[in-house]
Symmetry: C2
């Protein structure tokens, strides 16, 4: 790192906000799949500092990577080479929650869980929830339009972001903050920054519409004989309880069976069978009428478990949430988050691995909103690398053939860049590139990601 | 109209899709406030025709106005001068409704009510509803991000548009169609066209996420003593029945009192008092428990009326919906659709007309989502024109001072162009202009609207 540059940056953020040693946690994603070699991490504390950093970097053609909680899965928040990392974690003020409008105003560097802890006093909560809630930051959530567990009920994160403050690559601060649920004054510029993975600017503040914590919640676990039954149950619940359906998560029995030894202290809801299909579903609302709900579910299964306490509910959720982590412990994992019509999930997996042979693989996830996760485990990284391209070309081709999406919620990052033309088509990609050039003519923002 | 141009356009759309006479309904908005002088209306029937029209117009620097139902309130869909009108009403095919995903695929020229009639067979409905439902078109709804009656529950129209097909000013057809609830593959280009009032391209097809028709619905009418009580009831319902609250509409007694002679055949819910405040609210869901709800409401009012039939519900809604029309019959009306924090509505009106003196004026509307309508009636158009600027400068200045929006749902059109800098600030406006130039370098699309 050129010492003149370091000095100039230090002058902007102060000596306590510049790191040049022990940068491994910033250079590597949490899966250890993507590794950069940045020599400098900045932790600005104000929007003005972010603005000065970007202006300086733009004028000197220095490339930067904005970084939030670094919990992404597609290598979007770590450098490719030696880009300057701008870590947003010190911009962590919550300004206010307006109870009348249910809108929170916050810096972008606040941890999602901290937002929920703050909102708890008002009996409100954030409208999205992710496994990474304890470490992901608001700005990262927004800039990746993160998906998560409650999309089936609440819809996309994008729908709740009412306002943003954004710093453009040239240092200009765009005030797109807004505390009105309805503001219909033309092209909604802030939309461009939601989901753009830090390629167009850095989000520094946000207004988010929050939701009341429901009076009553109940988690159910179902054992089903076939994947077709999973689809049927889902359709049925959407018809009779659409408003109350908070989550609808599907898991193959083979992964729950494999994980069962991890829970010696807890009573499992079922003797998990490898060839069965399991559903975790949560309903929430004012008057749930759970007995009727259980009866309704009996039409589809003889086996149904309902939580008897908040603690049991948490344990049932744990069975679902730990899958990602437990796969990671089994070996080197290829993870996919595709969207296709729900009734095609099983077909898709069978096309990749006829007769379900090949390396250990499972599909599971947010079937309620059309998004399934396919995880494939390899014994070594070299084996994974050998297979990766082959699998992806086939998988993404099949997904595209069904009108699906190659990324339902994880985003593009480094991982899926080369499939963007397959997904978007040349004309759309051309438009996106022109917009990128408009905002970032020198290409300093998160280079070699997304586009 | 140059006959060579006419011939070329006729060659693209065919003789049955070009009109050069009796163009008054196309040149004038339904309020008779904005009047253009176009000499030609095209009614293309395919996306390819739209593409050829725009390519030809772009190459020959001919300005165009896209027009849907022409039900807007800000003069956005009528020409300023002699622009070519592209009426989308003949592109009215509904392609499919996928019951599994609840997504409809349709041409943009379908009437909103026709979409609902089609969806009825599946027990689904469109997620937004407007007074103009019988004549407004899907594409117009989307290109203006129309608001309407159910935003308090369902959120903005924008949230339900999953995919679009758009023709750019240069004739390029962008396929942004998408039938996945979750598609997180970077910058969401389609967002740019939603709410851009036809200044960036023409929407030809759309995928929209629909919602199930609720099992049970109930309309209530409340009489309240003060506007503060209106705010209190709203806060209370959001706490106890947030999920079920479909609409929360407020009306001043003085307009209901004035309209009462219109309903000689029907029983009014109340003897409307000029100094009282009235609320129409609708709840919808699975098990409404309406008796408990009525009891809860008694805490705020002694007077509450609940519909006893679908017909009565419709009549109660009529009392609210006819206000716009009845104001029009009283004289020449200035109409505003501002967003501000709900507890500031009364203050705002009092600031404009201290002691509520001056010309006849009322405020009413979607108080549940922070959007109030202020209507001011003048006896002549000349009087209206004399006052318009003065009122707007004051009103929009006050709205801005409270962090509000000068347009909650009607949009900008011709009407509010000159207040865009007040609303957005210079930097944001600069960005929007650059995006406009990127898509429409020759400025042919809906000129002198929005920006």
């Amino acid at each position: 790192m050129n010492s003149k540059i370091k000095l100039a940056l230090e002058k902007i953020v102060g000596t306590t906000n510049i790191l040049t040693q022990d940068l491994n946690p910033f250079n590597t994603d949490w899966m250890n799949k993507y590794v950069g070699s940045s020599e400098i991490v900045l932790t600005p504390q104000t929007t003005d500092q972010v603005s000065q950093i970007l202006r300086f970097c733009n004028e000197n053609a220095l490339k930067v990577v904005p970084q939030s909680g670094n919990t992404g899965l597609v290598g979007g928040s770590v450098p490719i080479k030696d880009e300057i990392i701008i870590s947003m974690r010190k911009m962590n003020k919550i300004y206010e929650f307006d109870l009348n409008s249910a809108i929170i105003t916050s810096d972008s560097g606040v941890i999602l869980e901290n937002l929920n802890n703050y909102l708890f006093q008002y009996k409100y909560q954030m409208p999205w929830d992710l496994g990474a809630r304890g470490s992901c930051l608001l700005g990262g959530n927004i800039s990746t339009n993160a998906g998560g567990l409650n999309v089936v009920k609440h819809g996309l994160l994008r729908n709740y972001v009412l306002g943003l403050e954004v710093v453009l690559p040239n240092g200009k601060i765009l005030n797109l903050l807004n505390k009105n649920r309805k503001d219909n004054t033309g092209t909604d510029l802030k939309q461009l920054f939601i989901g753009s993975e830090g390629t167009l600017g850095i989000i520094t503040k946000a207004n988010v519409l929050c939701i009341p914590i429901p009076n009553e919640k109940k988690v159910f676990f179902l054992e089903l004989k076939s994947f077709q039954d999973v689809i049927k149950v889902q359709g049925f619940i959407k018809q009779i309880r659409n408003e109350q359906l908070l989550a609808f998560e599907f898991m193959e029995g083979k992964i729950l069976h494999k994980n069962k030894h991890r829970h010696s202290g807890n009573k499992l809801p079922f003797e998990f069978q490898e060839d069965k299909y399991y559903v975790l579903l949560e309903i929430a609302g004012q008057s749930l009428n759970v007995d009727q709900f259980s009866l309704d579910m009996m039409e589809f299964t003889e086996e149904i478990v309902m939580d008897q306490s908040e603690k049991e509910a948490q344990f049932l959720w744990k069975l679902r949430e730990e899958i990602a982590e437990s796969m990671g412990k089994m070996g080197y994992v290829l993870k996919y988050d595709v969207s296709i019509p729900p009734d095609k999930f099983e077909w898709l997996v069978n096309e990749i691995y006829p007769k379900r042979e090949g390396p250990f693989h499972v599909y599971y996830g947010h079937v309620g909103d059309g998004n399934v996760h396919i995880n494939i485990v390899f014994e070594s990284l070299s084996e994974l690398h050998k297979e990766e391209d082959k699998i992806e070309q086939k998988l993404f081709g099949l997904v595209k053939s069904q009108g699906g999406s190659i990324s339902a919620e994880h985003g593009i990052g480094q991982h899926k860049r080369k499939y963007m033309e397959l997904q978007k088509g040349r004309d759309v990609l051309g438009c996106l590139s022109e917009i990128k050039s408009l905002f970032d003519p020198n290409g300093i923002m998160n280079p070699n990601k997304l586009l």
